[in-house]
Amino acid sequence: MKAMLIDTTRCVGCRGCQVACKQWNGLPAEETQFFGGAGYQNPRDLSSKTWTLLTYNEAQVGDHYDWVYGKLQCMHCQEPACAASCPTSAMEKLAEGPVVYHTSRCLGCRYCMLACPFQVIRFDWFSANPYVSKCTMCADRVLSGQEPSCVKSCPTDALVFGDREILVAEAHRRIEENPRKYVHHVFGEREVGGTCVLHLSTVPFELLGYRSDLPEKSLRRWTEPAMKPIPYIVAGLSLALGAVAWIVSRRDKRMVEKWVKQVKEMQ
């Protein structure tokens, strides 16, 4: 299972990754405008044309003032809520790690957007032929043994691609080696059942635009108890209702016989 480690402390904000994503996936540029938001960030949010976004956050880090960067993108969960919720399995978790999107099967029901714990899936709200969009971890590159386009573009190894276990161990090693530099948590290691995109940061993760109050149990497991018993219900109800029908039919038969007898007596 492949994964991506994002060490935000090594990021220098050059945004090569944001353009690399557009270049490889052929995504058009957005019409943007300077907004007095966080530093140089543009566009404001992920969209159907922007699958990864660098956030600029001004924060007080320890005794000095710092500029910290976050990288918003699909987290490629181990047990993705989008794949669990999609009625036609248009969202599919590949064994190699990426969660890919089969455009040909999508109904546009947007259940995946509701389910996504990281709120990263986007929709073509103003198109007559809408699709959803999200980062696919460059599945075509990954399946042919390459690394995603954004990872390749990163000059400072803030983005590293490799086996998930190795990267998790590497992340913990970095935390142990300079405890004062990192928040002692690998974001994505356990959230919603663990994800294939791991983050390290020097500031609390909420500051980088991530949600850090997510359950550890994968969201698929929250619906499973409701979906597992379906076949038992079908079988159970078939049996029970059949029995009821049988009892009712015998009661009716006796009633009819009694009724016929009454009619005969009256004649």
Partner: protein, 188 residues
Amino acid sequence: MSNLSRREFMTLSGATTGGALLASLALTTESAASPRLALKTDGTTETSTICPYCGVGCGLIVSVRDGKVVNIEGDPDHPVNEGSLCSKGMALFQIAVNDRRLQKVRYRAPGSDQWQEKPWEWALPEIANRVKATRDATFKARDGDKTVNRTEGIAGLGGAALDNEECYLWSKLARALGIVYLEHQARI
């Protein structure tokens, strides 16, 4: 806008539906090793290039199919950038493929408020005549008792984005024309 090109996925999903329905009764959700997907760089010819932006000199690989640029990304073998690129380097594709690129010689007549498109065959002699006229008019052979042989009426700017060979020819031609006002971006 399809995420993975529709052709690949139609073939894929077609295959799965055909076999799936009744034949295999037990379906697993976790697919075994996934089939390799087509890459947009499959079947392209690759050439190495150097980034035209800053002075770090990063290496890139240009993938071309049927005479058109299909993909430009970092050159993993280049020792300076090892395949990585900044936002400008990664955007080189939109320099090679950009409808705002000049594709015709343009001429603006004195006082006019718009361009006219012209062929090279027209432009070059016109430019040569103007250069000759201005050089001959403003050429200073002597300054007091000293020979100076300089053209004071023509100035030359630029070169930092040109190749070395192009800079050399411009340096050679400009000095042959006697141009002394010869500058470029190194000084601003």
